[in-house]
């Protein structure tokens, strides 16, 4: 699994905690641009040299990417599932609603 894949898996675990998080969410078509921008930005902010204070929660970074579709519709986004797998991300780790 890739580093991005490990991050997405870790982010999914955070939801089980009661810690506040900042969701990074794309639009409802959940096309490749939305899916990649959400995961990419969340991953970047978690690893960036610095992020603006307004993006911190009590001094901590907690960014969780979210796909703005119902989970049952994710398999329909075939270019998204293909690209995620190609970059070492497990589709089942992606958070949907």
């Amino acid at each position: 699994m890739s580093r991005i894949g490990l991050f997405v898996k870790e982010a999914k675990r955070w939801l089980k905690l009661t810690e506040p998080v900042i969701f990074v969410v794309g639009n409802e078509s959940c096309d490749l641009d939305s899916a990649v921008s959400a995961v990419g930005l969340a991953y970047f902010y978690m690893n960036a040299t610095n992020v603006p204070d307004r993006l911190l929660i009590d001094g901590t970074r907690r960014f969780v990417p979210m796909m703005n579709i119902h989970r049952t519709n994710l398999p329909l986004k075939t270019e998204v599932t293909y690209f995620m797998r190609d970059h070492g991300i497990d589709i089942d780790d992606l958070i949907c609603w």
């Binding site: 890739s2 580093r3 991005i4 900042i22 969701f23 990074v24 969410v25 794309g26 639009n27 409802e28 096309d31 490749l32 641009d33 939305s34 990649v36 921008s37 959400a38 995961v39 990419g40 930005l41 991953y43 970047f44 960036a48 040299t49 610095n50 992020v51 603006p52 307004r54 993006l55 979210m66 703005n68 519709n73 398999p75 329909l76 075939t78 270019e79 293909y82 690209f83 970059h87 609603w97």
Partner: protein, 171 residues
């Protein structure tokens, strides 16, 4: 919010801290809070703007190979592989992509392969069930008085072929 700036059912304007989007500003529906940082730039792909954010904060794309390779996918796909005639691509998409390719040591030829693979994946319905096929490109049409709604599925193959392939009984 990325790739949109109008709140949907899962987001609320007063709890949105940042928006990065490449769509034209929707003055009628957008209700961006004063506490939210809005970054709107009409380029071909939102991923271009995310990459620009990376470059702004880190000053370069060094040591970010996994991330920039990841962001490049939608930049290539949504600009229709930088097609001038499709007119989706903007100067920033080209600039960011070139810098990513330089950092990754990629050649121009690599773009077409990535583009073709993504287009192929987008239309690859081989793993979908019948119900999923019906949903994939479905459009809903509502009558003007809102009393009737019709769902029209967009089948990727001829219906006759689909029925034959799946041995579906005709009623």
């Amino acid at each position: 919010m990325v790739d949109h700036h109008v709140a949907t059912s899962v987001t609320s304007n007063d709890r949105t801290v940042e928006i990065i989007d490449h769509h034209p500003y929707d003055a009628k529906n957008a209700q961006v809070s004063v506490d939210c940082l809005l970054k709107l730039n009409e380029v071909g792909s939102c991923a271009t703007l995310v990459a620009d954010e990376v470059r702004t904060i880190e000053k370069s794309f060094a040591n970010q190979n996994d991330l920039i390779s990841f962001l490049r996918g939608p930049i290539v796909l949504d600009t229709i592989n930088f097609s001038q005639s499709a007119d989706k691509v903007r100067p920033l998409d080209i600039e960011i992509n070139q810098e990513i390719e330089a950092a990754l040591g990629l050649k121009v030829e690599d773009r077409s392969k990535l583009y073709n693979d993504l287009v192929k994946a987008r239309s690859d319905v081989s793993s979908l069930s019948a119900l999923q096929l019906l949903s994939k490109d479905m459009k809903m049409i509502t009558s003007s008085d809102k009393s009737n709604v019709i769902a029209i599925p967009g089948f990727p193959v001829l219906v006759e072929v689909f029925i034959e392939r799946n041995g579906i009984a005709i009623h």
